[in-house]
Amino acid sequence: MTPAAPTVPATTAAAERPTRRRRHGRLLARLAHLVGVLVLVTLAATALVDLLPGSPAATILGPTATAEAIAELEAETGYDRPLPERYATWLGNALTGDLGSSVQSNRPVLEQILDRVPVTLELTVLALVMALAAAVPAALLAAHREGGPADRAATGLASGLLSVPVFVAGVLLIYAFAVVTGWFPVSGWSPLSDGLVDNLAFAFLPALALAIGEAPGFYRLLRGDLVHTLHQDFVRTAEVRGLPRRYVLLRHALRPSSFSLLTVAAMTFGRLLAGSVVVESLFALPGLGALALQAIPARDLPLIQGIVALVAVVYVVVNMVVDAAYAVLDPRVRAA
């Protein structure tokens, strides 16, 4: 006798349908949000460049170009057309994967951006890992004995580091670890394809400079949330049950305390990916920040639009990932 196929109770199936619909609806809303953000941000980038003095054609032809020559080149390249028309053309091409060519170098924008992404991505990931690796244990230690010597020392150090701008941290690190001791290269980049050791040697100091800027914020956020959580009833209950303090900290307190940290870390990821300009410039790294720094004064509109579109995509996708991570961390979010 064949066992009967398990049947889903009618009430459960009926309950799942609206949940699935809700999930699909949420996903569609997210995608619509992504498209909306992309359109608005790239349109704003185009408009902002329009508001700046100087045009791509004028930049190409140099300071001695005549007004006629500039007008001629603008007509040829389409920069004299109205903003909506130019934007619609760019958007149409972008949808087919063609982000245009840089007005300065004449190289495809997508190719230039893809050349730079690995550098900035690695720098961002390394900086985040370093910052979290320092901040999380320090916050756990500080919250474990709130007001104790470790807490006071870590909080004091974090306050001090918070007031150190990233370029100052970078200069000091270079002086100490590159100029004086010669342990790390002063500047430059070695791609991962040329060997991991060289790559890490070049990436370490810039990533550390960025991490020094981020870790204190992470520490303060997590410490505050941990202290708050440790005063909750369920934590006290766990301690009364005789669970070791370390277990309570790691298994009961850390997870519900990490929401703010997760959000801020994710936003930091997006920000660093788009805005490590100072560190990239100081350490001469061929990343996205350096590319943006080059494109804006040159009024390289296609390049600016391409970088802005990438950054917007990263931000929105990171937001979506954070939302998904909330659901993993907290069952209440899943049920909502």
Partner: protein
């Protein structure tokens, strides 16, 4: 045999901790160390050199499309890849042969004969002959190319006399055409490569210089290898030359000091010479005339009135200004520089605070108070200059200064193209008055951004370029200096020194143009 000192981990950590601790103090106090540079031995064939520059050659390296080449950007790369037909000494402006054997004028200076060295070839095998030079110049002159260099060849005709000889007929006689060619028309690209891909040539340049492009990773490095077919005046010694880009000038010096690079072009601030000396690095420099120069817009108020220009020039103590904006630098010696046979040494306009106040009060009494905006780029030197000018002039009555710091594209439009400014500045090296001073001061000059037009000044500038007689040139340029000192359309405010910082073992550094190196001279001394 090499030896190394091994340190224990604890000692290493202590050294690093000490270094971190002292770094802030040293950076903050600007502490200075000893400055003894080791002697280098004779150069040998072989070796690799890395040269650190400040900006990427974003627009590529097409000689027809570039204007105002800078040593920290494109000029050094061009010099290595294309070599030079002729080159002008960065200090004196004296012209010497490179890939060209000679360039000689006719008796009236209207016709020039260019003779190339024998057996010159581009790295793609195309001969660098008279036809190749003609092709390059015709391309620059062609309006369809939209070359910024086209005005230099307006009315010029070129005729190929034989494989190595090109006849150049000018629209008007100019005995300084060799300087024009050496500073602006000296780089020649392969006609075959240009014809094959005119738009792509900038990114894949092919020249007949001492080095050939092997790899170019934008904003990171450009590696060149020795050109085995180079037939210039010297034989290149180095195996490879690598250009890297570091935006921060201090970092450029640090990179050389750490041994990661052999030379760096620090940019316009002269204070980095001291920084180099502290790190026991050598500095090769070329002091010239001109330099960072104030431009007064003479076409509109307040500087359409010569008294306003004089008042500002007299109010500023340039020695004090330079000690503030660029410590270790000096005020310019006249218009032409300390080593020039032209003009007279000393300040172009004497500092006279009382005289300046008198002029300002006079203008205010006439209802013409001197209120103006200084429009400058955000470079450190120019920002400090703008702040100094505002600060010092605020101690005078009847004058008001506003600062407007804008990016290069905005300066190009507002100052250089639309002339919508009151006072600005740019760096104008003048190793010889030709061609830069002519372009800046002549009423028809390509870079006459001040709008200043004075028939007597035009006549003096024209007289100077229409003679080979040294005494006649000296007389003409004495007139030029006298008129500029009297009318003040421009005011050089800091000495001009092109320089390159390098490790002592890098030898053969010769600066040409605005400060680029000659790459067939560079070599590494035997260790």
């Amino acid at each position: 045999m090499t030896s190394a000192v091994r340190r224990s981990p604890a000692r290493r950590i202590a050294v690093a901790a000490l270094a971190v601790g002292t770094a802030a103090v040293l950076v903050a106090c600007g502490s200075r160390g000893p400055a003894a540079v080791e002697e280098a031995g004779p150069p040998q064939r072989g070796g690799d050199a890395t040269i650190v520059l400040g900006v990427e050659a974003v627009r590529g390296l097409d000689p027809a499309m570039l204007f105002n080449l800078t040593p920290s950007g494109d000029a050094n790369r061009m010099s290595a890849i294309y070599g030079t037909l002729l080159w002008a000494d960065a200090a004196t402006g004296a012209v010497s042969p490179g890939l060209a054997e000679s360039l000689t004028p006719s008796a009236d200076g209207a016709q020039w004969t260019l003779v190339l060295r024998p057996a010159l070839t581009f790295s793609d095998g195309t001969p660098l002959d008279a036809e190749a030079v003609r092709f390059n110049y015709a391309r620059i002159a062609d309006p369809a190319t939209r070359s910024p260099l086209a005005p230099l060849l307006a009315g010029v005709t070129t005729t190929v006399r034989d494989a190595r000889t090109l006849q150049i007929d000018l629209a008007t006689p100019n005995f300084s055409f060799d300087r024009v060619l050496a500073t602006n028309l000296t780089f020649i690209g392969s006609p075959t490569a240009i014809a094959a891909d005119p738009a792509g040539f900038a990114n894949e340049p092919v020249g007949a210089g001492p080095f050939v492009l092997r790899e170019w990773v934008r904003d990171d490095h450009m590696t060149l290898e020795r050109n085995p077919t180079y037939a210039g005046p010297d034989e290149p010694l180095l195996d490879t030359v690598t250009f890297t880009v570091i935006a921060d000038p201090t970092q450029r010096i640090n990179t050389v000091a750490s041994g990661q690079a052999q030379a760096a072009v620090p940019g316009s601030d002269l204070s980095f010479r001291d920084a180099a000396a502290q790190r026991r690095l050598a500095v090769t420099e070329a002091p010239a005339g001109g330099g960072p120069t104030f431009l007064f817009n003479t076409a509109r108020a307040p500087f359409d009135d010569v008294r306003a220009r004089r008042a500002v020039a007299m109010a500023l103590d340039l020695a004090d200004l330079d000690s503030v904006i660029d410590p270790g630098s000096a005020a310019p010696e006249g218009l032409f520089g300390p080593g020039s046979p032209f003009g007279s040494p000393g300040p172009l306009v004497e500092h006279d605070a009382a005289g300046a106040q008198q002029l300002l009060s006079q203008l205010a009494a006439e209802g013409k108070p001197v209120e103006f905006t200084v429009t400058l780029t955000p470079s450190g030197l120019f920002k400090r200059t703008a702040e100094y000018v505002q600060s010092r002039l605020s101690t005078f009555r009847d004058i008001a200064v506003t600062i407007d710091i804008v990016d290069n594209a905005t300066i190009d439009q507002r100052v250089f193209r639309d002339r919508d400014y009151d006072m600005s500045a740019q760096i104008v090296p003048v190793p010889d008055p030709e061609p830069n001073l002519y372009k800046l001061l002549h009423s028809t000059g390509q870079t006459n951004y001040t709008g200043f037009a004075d028939p007597a000044l035009d006549a003096a500038l024209d007289a100077a370029r229409s003679t080979q007689d040294t005494a006649a040139r000296e007389a003409a340029y004495a007139t030029v200096q006298r008129i500029v000192a009297d009318q003040v359309p421009i005011l050089p405010f800091r000495e001009q020194v092109a320089y390159t910082v390098h490790r002592p073992e890098l030898t053969g550094l010769v600066l040409h143009g605005d400060g680029a190196l000659l790459y067939d001279r560079l070599g590494l001394a035997a260790s």
